[in-house]
Point group: C2
Chain length 299, copies 2
DNA sequence: CCCTTTCCATAACCTGGCGGCATGGATGTG
DNA sequence: CACATCCATGCCGCCAGGTTATGGAAAGGG
């Protein structure tokens, strides 16, 4: 008996939401499509999985049995997928490196060059991650190493080598009154609206709002973005200000956006991270070494 | 990332066969269809799974990684499916009973009637199994109990209650010289061609050929069938003879086929079986009790 | 040396399935 | 009584997958 895992994911979503309508918008499909997916799964199994009512979709007994076993199954499949992809990149001698836009900087080309020198035949594949993923794909097993910023959620489950520390500046609309100043104190920004990362990034979002360095005062959110472009636009359009690493002033310079040093807020730290499973992986270790030397050696 | 399990089964088949052509005929699809399925899976994963050559399809390293993990995954899914179906039948108060055509007999209606009396609200669903499955779906978890014949392969993994013993007779073309006799000895049949069950039924096939009661002499196979209809036709058409339980003479009477008692061959035994997991299942126990009483009580 | 066989890939065609939109029916709610 | 909320259904357009027919490459046999 064959199924598409999409049907199973849909089933799980409906089971969790208890509603076709809500599950449909969570899955970005129309509600009729979900209706048919659920029905199809039921026909396929020959089992009624839900009892329909005006109040929503309630699991039947066999539905509960299925809902208990399907999520681990899907997790297993996802793991299998990652493993196969990992094997493929190893076989092709490709090192997959994820990076946050803000964590790669001037030294990146040098790192790659040095790594390529040490590992001839190997190729580095750089993958820029969305801000909604502070581990740049490392936590999901999509990459072998990641250039990212500390701290990030789930940091304990990964190996981390800190590379450098960088003061946090503020990016603000160039027309903003505070932009006239050469330097600001963080306290002056407490009541400004901020452009923030999406809520599901948790500690990452809080870190760039410096939520715990505001003496307990609430944060005003002016806009939510998860890509550099949107982030710059939101600031330029005056929706709010945002903390950013000093290097952003060089990499994300843009008319309408001004960067100023901020005192009274802890600096940001750039690090390279890898999975504990790769502790014995000489290629990953080489890459990490290259990162370390790029910030210590040449200086 | 979503996949249809059909793609995974196809992948496993190709990996095992090492050839698209052979895998295609095993899966009952055309070879171009399989070509596209494999290609689709590779595109989906973004990974080359096979290296093609005139000599066939050889797994790549990531292909081997996948081939290692997918079969357990599919087995897990099949198990989940069985579990859900089992839960459904329990919730609907349906007892699923598999039976071999030759193992159900005159007492079956009485068994069902008695069970229904003891378990009002419950319904018995009788499912006839193909001869290729000597456990009548019990080993696969498709049924809760099974009426079958002993011995069968994998018998040790199931609970069995023997119900009755029945002599084995022989079914032969009515025009066959030996059909003129009232009774035969098995030894007289040693050189006759036999109509046999498919090879993949293993011990089951051997049992009905009485392969180990021939004093080491080889068996001549006249035809292979896995359904009663084909079996009767094969005998009537003179392709061979076959051993059968005495009751077959009543249930499978047919012009052109004669049944005669055979001496010198051990009798067949009918039993009811269930899964060890259902040892504590009162409903299954009731059904087994009904079976036992049907053959002991009334007599 | 050529012919045949055995692989896999490709092209052309056709059907069925799936998704989206619009709408309907049932049922609580202000 | 109108409205909001949910799920089901009808219709339409499109893509995906299957089949048949065919091609090309390579190995084995006469």
């Amino acid at each position: 008996m064959d199924v598409d895992t999409r049907l199973l994911r849909s089933f799980v979503a409906v089971a969790e939401e208890g509603s076709l309508t809500r599950a449909a918008e969570r899955l970005f499909v129309s509600q009729p499509a979900l209706t048919r997916q659920v029905r199809q799964l039921e026909t396929l199994l020959g089992v009624a999985l839900f009892t329909r009512s005006r109040t929503g979709m309630a699991l039947t007994e066999p539905g509960r049995a299925l809902a208990r076993r399907v999520p681990p199954l899907l997790a297993d499949w996802d793991g299998t997928l990652r493993e196969a992809r990992g094997a493929a990149s190893r076989a092709e001698r490709v090192l997959r490196v994820g990076f946050l836009a803000s964590a790669a900087n001037e030294s990146t080309p040098g790192i790659i060059a040095e790594f390529t020198r040490r590992r001839p035949g190997w190729r580095v594949e750089m993958r820029q991650a969305a801000w909604s993923d502070p581990t740049a794909g490392l936590a999901e097993g999509d990459v072998d190493a990641a250039l990212l910023r500390l701290p990030f959620p789930g940091q304990g489950a990964l190996r981390v080598a800190e590379l450098l520390e960088e003061p946090r500046w503020v990016a603000l609309p160039s027309g903003h009154p505070l932009a006239a100043r050469e330097e600001l104190s963080f306290q002056e920004l407490w009541d400004e609206p901020f452009v923030a990362a999406p809520p599901d990034t948790g500690p990452w979002r809080d870190y760039w709002l410096a939520a715990d360095e505001r003496g307990g005062r609430p944060v005003r959110i002016g806009a939510v973005t998860d890509r550099p472009d949107d982030w710059l636009s939101a600031i330029a359009n005056g929706y709010g200000v945002a903390l950013a690493p000093e290097s952003a002033a060089r990499f994300y310079a843009r008319p309408g956006v001004a960067y100023r040093p901020v005192s009274g807020v802890s600096p940001s730290r750039v690090a390279v991270a890898w999975a504990p499973a790769d502790d014995g992986n000489a290629v990953v270790r080489d890459f990490v070494d290259c990162c370390r030397e790029a910030v210590t050696g040449p200086r």
